[in-house]
Amino acid sequence: MSSSLISAKGKHPGESVVPFRRHEPGSQPDSFYPAYRATRLRAPSQPLIFLPHTLSEVTGPVFGHSDIHPNDEDLTAQHAGEPLGERIIVRGRVVDGDGHPVPNSLIEIWQANAAGRYAHAKDSHPAPLDPNFTGTGRTLTDADGFYSFVTIKPGAYPWRNHDNAWRPAHIHFSLFGPAFVTRLITQMYFPGDPLFAYDPILQSIPDERARQRLVSKFDLETTKPEWALGYRFDIVLRGRESTPFEK
């Protein structure tokens, strides 16, 4: 048993565990948020147990170009024809808590079509499916942390959480970053959506400034003339605590 430990250390000499910073209060949603009905039976009732980071928490899976296929980042080019709806470009940069880019990192997205319907067997919203739109994409961030998707603007849709409940238009984002603890699954919203105030999923984040971090911004620079509007959505993953040498 001890020999395997030695080989683990010997394989990557000098590897030390630099922990990741913890979240600031109010910057992440509460797990238990009764207005979002499903949390009532699915959020833990016991306090979480604080886990000092070990090698298990500061490492994470690595993905590469073999995990990506052509057209994965253009959701309008995955079928014979073009999907209906408003074509858009979503572009942004993934950085860590110190503002350093997170390169070569997998981003996966999924979304409803322009009518607010997911291409999913369990979505029973009576809005049309679009044979030219699946609504899934993936890409890797480039060396400077940038990513870009071409898609169509998703529609709002009803979800039965409460009377007359509608989700604001959103795109689901999944990111890994470098470690088990940098894993992030979130949703990107569109600026000025009147449904924000009525959406318990967004409102589960206590701090208004934190909620605003999920709202993309219209971006003329990303917008392509005569072709598509551009939205900018930057994402910040957790950064590491500084080491004594960095101070």
């Binding site: 699915r42 298990s56 400034r209 999920l214």
Partner: protein
């Protein structure tokens, strides 16, 4: 500039579309992977003990020698990438085929007991729940410094038990809330 991390949101009920329909990984260990092959069945249950049919489980683990494939996955055990993810079925369960992990370095120069790092995501889960799977009956558990953080009367919630009907199969129920609630970690 403000570099406060982006808030989490629920993965929602249609996670399969983006994450598991075409992209699930239930088999972490390819044919050439070294080590003791095991099958881990998780079952996710809600606060009323009802199976959760629309959750997703992700696992991250070291190989049989206690090495995480977090560099480039091209080491001498490249058949093992250490990451898996599956959606739960109607009965709340999913099963990973993998290798029993070795021991990885722990705090204070020690080693940790064999464990799997686990994330639970799903509708009604606004931020990822983190837990660990340990193997019941493993002698190293007694000295594991992470298990020692857990009140003794709740440790069993992290211990997979062997399926006595099938060799190599292990079972772990994840209770999201209430009776027998699983220990979740603040990572």
């Amino acid at each position: 500039m403000d570099f406060t991390p982006t808030p989490s949101q629920t993965v929602g009920p249609y996670l399969h579309l983006g994450l598991t329909d075409a992209r699930s990984i239930g088999r972490l260990a390819g044919d050439g992977a070294k080590g003791e092959r095991v099958w881990l069945t998780f079952r996710v249950l809600d606060g009323e003990g009802v199976p959760v049919p629309d959750a997703m489980i992700e696992v991250w683990q070291a190989d049989c020698e206690g090495i995480y494939a977090h560099y480039d996955g091209t080491g001498d055990n490249a058949a093992f990438r250490g990451f898996g993810r599956l959606a739960t079925a109607e009965d709340g369960s999913c099963t990973f085929e993998t290798i029993k992990p070795g021991r990885v370095p722990g705090p204070g120069g020690g080693v940790q007991a064999p464990h799997i790092n686990v994330s639970i995501l799903g509708r009604g889960i606004l931020k990822r729940l983190s837990t660990r799977l340990y193997f019941a009956g493993e002698s190293a558990n007694a000295a594991d410094l992470v298990l020692a953080l857990v009140p003794e009367n709740r440790r069993a919630t992290l211990l997979a038990r062997p399926d006595l009907t099938r060799s190599g199969y292990w079972l772990l129920d994840v209770h999201l809330r209430g009776e027998g609630e699983t220990v979740f970690f603040d990572v």
